[in-house]
Amino acid sequence: MTADRRQGSDSPAVRTEAVEALLVERGLVQSAAVDALVERYEQDIGPLRGARVVAEAWTDPAFRARLLEDGMPAIRELGFGDNTDSHVARLVVKENTESVHNLVVCTLCSCYPWAVLGLPPAWYKSPAYRSRAVREPRLLLAELGLDLEPEVELRVWDSSAEVRYMVLPRRPEGTGGLDVEELTARVTRDSMIGVERL
């Protein structure tokens, strides 16, 4: 079925009002619930849950092992994953090491580990990232300031289906004395996607 090419000539704001009115009229949504969900997104702590997961994994080897074995049950131990996108079959966490670096992309849409990182940043959804991360990932990473040593194996995870991926970055040097809270503050969203080192 082809799409109607005349669709949507009004502004997106006007079109959104129209489609919302129709969905409300047909009883599929309630505007108050939409208001509440938007507010929840806006106050969303975003990647903070993922940062906490990383800090726990750095400080608790048993938790780290469970996390790498099966991500979703492990993050539930920390009270996360309750508002997980129900269309996700598994959360898989890939660990960066001295010899392996991991990078996450979704070339077909913009699948992202919402349960731990919140909503994806604009660049992750951009055609430039989606097109290049699988074909020239080293060049792309270099442009973003991460010069990967030639001997480091690069693994790119194209989230094309029902599995979502998060990177467990390497713990930075000189953080031995920090507690979980202080470590959490050191973890960036982009390091958990794999475009940054800490």
Binding site: T2, Y41, A122, P127, V156
Partner: protein, 196 residues
């Protein structure tokens, strides 16, 4: 379908503009669309695969021009137009898990060499074009899941095992591929054939 959404490997989109200071929803309607889509799917407007396919069916110039939530808005309009003409809702509410119990074993084991099929379906599929007719190795086996290819257009869930398949960069991109890179792609069993 061979659409504009299938972006892996394309040239011409330039540098990645990575900003750290962006708002979650720069315009208010974007947040509304994000929430509306979730509720409308949950209430039975369409399942997630039909929603993704509605995005893929956009005219390609609109896909590029409208942005991420603009595409969601377009898909919501398309699905509302196509599916809300009658009184009944077109789908069961799309909530809960996508994994399914099936009474057969996975065809492949970790380490098995496989080749992806060379098919160009007009409908929805989750085999990226750049990985079509390519040799890889099974790296992981996941539970059977609802099969997006049939679920997207009303042919049913027909669950299939899902695998992570490892492809050497050179197999995907030829002589000029970057060294030392492997691309892992999650692929459903029908996309794969055993390599002797």
């Amino acid at each position: 379908m061979n659409g504009i959404h299938d972006m892996g490997g394309m040239h011409g989109f330039g540098a990645v503009d990575r900003r750290s200071d962006e708002a979650l929803f720069p315009e208010a309607w974007q947040g509304r669309v994000c929430a509306l889509a979730g509720y409308a799917m949950g209430a039975g407007l369409a399942n997630i695969d039909a929603f993704r396919h509605a995005i893929e069916r956009m005219p390609p110039e609109r896909y590029l021009a409208d942005g991420y939530y603009g595409r969601w808005l377009y898909a919501l309009e398309t699905l509302a137009r196509e599916r809300l003409a009658g009184d009944a809702l077109p789908e069961r509410p799309d909530v809960g898990s996508v994994t399914r119990e099936v009474d057969r074993e996975p065809r492949f084991a970790v380490g098995d060499p496989v080749r992806t099929w060379n098919r160009h379906p007009q409908g929805h599929t989750r085999l990226p074009g750049y990985a079509r007719d390519r040799r890889g190795v099974i790296a992981d086996i996941h539970p059977a899941c609802v099969y997006p290819d049939t679920n997207a257009d009303g042919r049913g869930e027909s669950p299939e095992y899902l695998y992570t398949v490892a492809f050497e960069s050179r197999e995907l991109w030829g002589e000029e591929a970057e060294a030392g890179a492997t691309v892992y792609i999650d692929l459903f069993e029908p996309y794969l054939e055993a390599l002797a």
